[in-house]
Symmetry: C2
Subunit: 463 residues, 2 copies
């Protein structure tokens, strides 16, 4: 009898297992196979993409190196070396986790975990039965196809298949200007591909979480780097051509491409888990319904991560796993809270956000004020040759922090300061009076706070 | 009649002027000349050094580029290009500030500001008299020589003169393994110089603020990069030799060097300001005595930054200027607090600290616990190829945050999270339950918090 069986050893599952162990629970993991431990994020998502993105970022850095007294000659690119380096990181994280689980005596059972009743998980096909007090579902999500665009791993790739490329394509057509699309557009472009990025809506990152400013900055820079952005456009048809594809877009334009990459939606893995039989409720889109403590409609069954909402982020899954486990232990101080989830995009800029945009806040009835400080005059950003971007803080009339949006160097790390303060219900007054190292990028956060708390003295035009 | 006259337009002075203006005061600045606006930090300190350090960091990055599928050919170095880039940043910050001050109608009077009485600053040599309600002294510090080592700008340089070098020296001897010494050792080494680093004490960064771990990590890496570190050693004598110098060390060893760089102490600029005549008290080392509100023994005269203590950091000056001005406005919520001052060193690693080390805390009678998490298994650090280092958090028995010491990528920005939480008196409990993006370097902070709050499950050896 386990205290907890976790179905799925992706980000939510493995973080949950470690946390449950820390908290003294007997915990077991069920995962499809040894190669999928770590889930989508580790094996085909954020980890390999951030690796390649770091390479892309350094290649971009080359272009400014003469300012630092370094004149580079030519350089050669090698996909096989890139893959080696990338796989080394992925495999080492995966194997370390397995060894660590073994060390902590957390068993990982390989197979499909199916709920037979609220206290019984069966591992298919072996039929091994695990009895448990609690269950945490952490089965993640899968790529989906888009209309007639069916990934074949030869000409049309989804984000699972793209990692098997053996060479840099000379021409890539990317479908979808969301987070995934703009990340790959940047990476392929810096590694030398010609890139066409097709987006149905009228801007990149067309999510209401992302301020328009971020979309505009990003589009401008991607264009400057040579990415061909086609907004309000979709793919109409395509045919084999010259060893690649000839693609006709909705506006009639024709584009040649070696490959098409689908940077589009994902669906939750909530089928064949026995949920229906057990009465675990799902919504009309197939997401498992959970309360603030990640608890499903069956009280001892919890769920976290991609199967619970379209906000499919590894750390959301990790956090929700901890929320669920704390609740199993009778605690109620941790709760799911999408508003505190940091969202970070790694494209030609780092684009980080938490909480509400101005527009969202106004829609919710807040009287908002916004403090914006550009990195253009931030001494550390200038020293690093990366002074494009901004910190944007949204507060209500009382100065409560409603949201923060940072575009620029190390935005993702910087954002955490504001995440902490939002969670602590500290106001912009506090932020404006903290101490910031000089020179540091963080100073821009303090200055945005000063603009809000004491009134603006900025003269820099916003763009 | 001004509300406030600030003597010195360095970091403390100009931040203070902007803040006073924000708060509605009529403020004027007095500064020696147009070229020294911005003070030591901007013109000869942190700003030019962080610029060169960024170049050094990128040169180091080259060595790992093959892992990212990028094979570099050879590269050429040019001091004149480096200087151009560096001076462009420095001059642009300086000129922007002057234009900004003009735009805000904050006058800058050039000359030496001398206090004639508590409400009168005279600008020498013009004799212009400025009447004012309050005075803020922000005159900074100057380099000092070391025994017989008198900087001549030809063979022996101080940190003011070093920026005038027209070529990279092929052999540099650096005296002092403190912050300045280890920063220049890294920079010169990456730009191709042979570097000998001489330190009197038995470790690099021999400050009690810095945990020994940080010194050890840094020494190991500097050695790996080829820096020749000589501890428990000083310079005994030197003589001209072969166009350069032949230096004899205290252990009898002989070292050839083109130049010697003195990375040693500074003294406060507290002379010839009229302080003695006015009765502004100084301590035996020449620092102006101030209370928690940066107020001197003459109630309407305040002082900030390098003239107030040996902790000579630009942001400490900036913060203290704001503390002083708030106090002039009748507020008491901001106070000088050395314990909350982030200290960041940019050498072969970024080394950041705030608050107490374990040893310091125990000396003060705390029962301490320490949470250490290595970057070695941090996925973002692995992706970025920079997984050396650690986050080290010190708490007392109740979990109150006493200090934090981070060595590794972007340590300086990461540290700010902990600075905020220490200032808010939030405990490690809070830190351990915050949400951290995955993958991010910040996760290591949360994990250090978990180690402390829930007990350790780390199996990675500390070194």
């Amino acid at each position: 009898m386990y205290d907890l069986v976790i179905v799925g050893a992706g980000s939510g599952g493995y973080e949950g297992a470690l946390y449950a162990h820390r908290r003294g629970m007997q915990v077991a993991l069920v995962e499809l196979g040894p190669e999928s431990v770590g889930g989508n994020c580790l094996n085909r998502g954020c980890i390999p993409s951030k690796y390649m993105r770091h390479g892309a970022y350094l290649i971009e850095k080359f272009q400014r190196l003469e300012d630092y007294g370094v004149k580079l000659g030519s350089y050669e690119l090698s996909m096989s070396k890139l893959r080696q380096g990338r796989d080394k990181v992925v495999v080492s994280i995966r194997e370390n986790f397995k060894r660590f689980a073994e060390h902590l005596k957390i068993p990982i059972f390989y197979g499909r975990g199916v709920l037979k009743d609220p206290n019984r998980v069966v591992v298919e096909p072996s039929g091994l039965e695990l009895r448990t007090k609690y269950v945490l579902l952490a089965t993640g999500s899968s790529t989906t196809s888009l209309g007639g665009l069916v990934p074949d791993g030869r000409h049309i790739y989804d984000t699972d298949q793209i990692w098997s490329l053996e060479d840099f394509p000379s021409k890539v057509l990317i479908v979808g200007g969301g987070a995934v699309g703009v990340e790959f557009a940047y990476m392929f472009r810096m590694y030398g591909s010609q890139v066409v990025l097709v987006e149905l809506k009228d801007r990149l990152l067309p999510s209401e979480d992302i301020p328009e400013d971020s979309s505009r900055y990003l589009a401008r820079k991607l264009k400057r780097l040579g990415v061909d952005i086609r907004l309000r456009t979709t793919i109409k048809e395509w045919k084999p051509y010259n060893g690649g594809l000839l693609v006709t877009l909705s506006d009639g334009a024709q584009v040649e491409a070696d490959i098409i990459l689908l940077g589009v939606g994902r669906r939750p893995n909530t089928q064949n888990l026995g949920l229906e039989e057990l009465g675990v409720e799902k919504d009309e889109r197939g997401f498992v319904k959970v309360n603030a403590f990640s608890q499903t409609s069956v009280p001892n069954v919890y769920a976290c991560g991609d199967i619970t909402s379209p906000l499919m982020l590894a750390h959301k899954a990790m956090y929700e796993a901890k929320v669920a486990i704390s609740h199993m232990l009778g605690e109620e101080d941790m709760r799911r809270d999408d508003r505190l989830v940091p969202k970070i995009i790694y494209s030609a800029y780092e684009i980080a956000s938490v909480g509400l945009t101005e527009e969202q806040a106004e829609e919710e009835g807040y009287e908002t004020r916004v403090g914006v400080v550009s990195f253009v005059s931030n001494p550390k950003a200038m020293d690093d040759g990366e002074s494009e971007g901004f910190v944007r803080i949204v507060v209500d009339r009382e100065g409560s922090l409603l949201g923060c949006h940072i575009l620029g160097p190390h935005a993702g790390e910087l954002l955490h300061q504001v995440v902490h303060l939002m969670r602590a219900n500290l106001k912009v007054d506090f932020l404006s009076k903290s101490m910031y190292a000089h020179p540091s990028l963080s100073e821009a956060i303090g200055q945005a706070g000063m603009e809000l708390h004491f009134g603006s003295i900025t003269w820099t035009k916003r763009r």
